[in-house]
C-alpha cells in the first residue's frame, strides 16, 4: 500500500506551498525588528534613561498633533553647544571624545539637516494621530518598544493591522477603549 503515500504526499506539499506563498504574499511578514544604521548613532538610553529627559522635550508635538514632531537640529545644539564632543569620565563611562557629537556639530556648521532613516511607519493609507493615543494614556513604549533602553533604535512591534486592532478592540493588557470602525484610521 505504498501507493497511498505517493498520492497523498504531493497533495500535502502543494497545500503547504500554497499556504506559505499566500501568507507571505498577503503581507504577513512585517518589518518587525528592522534596525537600520542611522547617520548619527543617537543613544536614547543616555538621554532618556541617563539624563531622564522627557520624550516630549524633543518630540514636542506628540501630545498635541498627529505627528510627534522630529527635533530640529537646533534643538540638539541647544544642549550640545555646551556639551561638546570631549567627555570627562562620568557615570556614563570613562573620558572620551564622542564622534557622534562631532558629526552633529558638523551637520550644524554645514547648516544641513540630519537625514535620519525612518523606522516606524504605518502604511500611507493609515491615519495615525499621535495625540489621540498619547492623551488616551497609551505610553510611547506600547508602540515603539522599550526605546529608552535601545542603544540603536529598532522596530519592536509589528505595527500590523491585526496588532492595532488588538488594542482597539480592548483585547490588550492593559485594555484600552478605542473605536475599531474602519473609517477611524482609513480615509
Amino acid at each position: 500500500m505504498t501507493m497511498r503515500k505517493w498520492v497523498v504526499v504531493p497533495g500535502f506539499l502543494a497545500l503547504a506551498a500554497a499556504a506559505i506563498v499566500l501568507s507571505a504574499y498577503s503581507g504577513a511578514s512585517t518589518p518587525q525588528g528592522r534596525k537600520p544604521q542611522q547617520p548619527i548613532a543617537f543613544p536614547h538610553p543616555t538621554h532618556v534613561a541617563g539624563l531622564g529627559m522627557n520624550c516630549l522635550y524633543c518630540h514636542f508635538a506628540a501630545n498635541k498633533a498627529p505627528d510627534p514632531g522630529l527635533p530640529a537640529v537646533n534643538t540638539c545644539m541647544g544642549c550640545h553647544l555646551v556639551v561638546g564632543p570631549s567627555r570627562p569620565a562620568s557615570q556614563f563611562g570613562p573620558a572620551r571624545t564622542s564622534a557622534e557629537i562631532t558629526k552633529l556639530q558638523q551637520y550644524w556648521n554645514a547648516k544641513k539637516p540630519i537625514p535620519w532613516i525612518r523606522i516606524h511607519k504605518v502604511p500611507d493609507y493609515v491615519q495615525f494621530p499621535h495625540m489621540r493615543h498619547v492623551n488616551a494614556g497609551v505610553s510611547c513604549q506600547t508602540c515603539h518598544g522599550e526605546i529608552q533602553n535601545m542603544p540603536v533604535v529598532y522596530q519592536a512591534k509589528p505595527l500590523s493591522m491585526g496588532w492595532c486592532i488588538n488594542c482597539h478592540t480592548g483585547r490588550s493588557n492593559p485594555p484600552f477603549k478605542a473605536r475599531y470602525d474602519c473609517s477611524t484610521c482609513h480615509y
Binding site: M1, T2, M3, R4, W6, V7, Y180, C182
Partner: protein, 166 residues
C-alpha cells in the same frame, strides 16, 4: 494466499461458473469483468455499498460548516452593510449549500477509496490484463487440496484458461 484463476471469454459461462462455485463453497470468489454487468452482480449477491454513509455524513458536515463560518465571521467584527442584519442566515444558505456539495462529494470519493481499497499499486496475484479488454475472470481463493477440483469445475464451465497462482 493462493488460489485458482479461471479466464472466461463469455459472460454467460462466467455467470454459470460463479453459480456453481457458490454452491461448492471452495472459498472466497473475486470476479473480474471489463465492465460492470448486473448479471454478475446478481450472481454474487453483494450487500449494499458503505459509500453512501460517507456521502451523508460529509454532506451534513459541509452544510453545518457553511452556516457556521459566515455567521461567526460576521459577528466577529460587526459591520453593517446595506442596513441588513450583520449575520443573516438567508444569504448564507448559498454558502452552506455549496459546501454541502463540495464536502459531500469529496467524502464520497474518500468512501470509495476506503471501501474499494484503492489506490493500490501492485496488481496482486490472480489478475490478467485481459480483464480490462474482453475477458472475464473468476479467482477462487482455495487451499491446495481443493485446487484440482476448482480447476476441473472452471474448465468444465468453459474457461478458456485456468491456472493456479500463489
Amino acid at each position: 494466499m493462493q488460489g485458482v484463476l479461471g479466464i472466461f471469454s463469455e459472460l454467460d459461462s462466467t455467470v454459470h461458473a460463479i453459480e456453481a462455485l457458490r454452491k461448492k463453497r471452495y472459498g472466497d470468489i473475486t470476479v473480474y469483468s471489463p465492465t460492470p454487468r448486473h448479471e454478475l452482480e446478481h450472481a454474487l449477491r453483494h450487500r449494499p455499498s458503505v459509500v453512501r454513509r460517507f456521502t451523508l455524513i460529509g454532506g451534513l458536515l459541509g452544510m453545518t460548516f457553511g452556516y457556521w463560518i459566515p455567521i461567526w465571521v460576521s459577528d466577529y467584527w460587526p459591520l453593517v452593510v446595506g442596513g441588513k442584519p450583520v449575520a443573516s442566515w438567508v444569504p448564507y444558505t448559498v454558502i452552506s449549500f455549496e459546501l454541502m456539495v463540495l464536502i459531500g462529494g469529496l467524502s464520497t470519493v474518500a468512501g470509495l477509496f476506503v471501501a474499494a481499497r484503492i489506490p493500490r499499486i501492485t496488481a496482486t496475484i490472480g489478475y490478467s490484463p485481459l480483464f480490462s479488454d474482453d475477458r472475464f475472470g473468476v479467482w477462487v481463493e482455495s487451499p491446495p487440496e481443493h485446487a484440482g477440483a476448482v480447476r476441473d469445475l472452471l474448465s468444465s464451465e468453459g474457461a478458456v484458461e485456468v491456472r493456479s497462482e500463489r
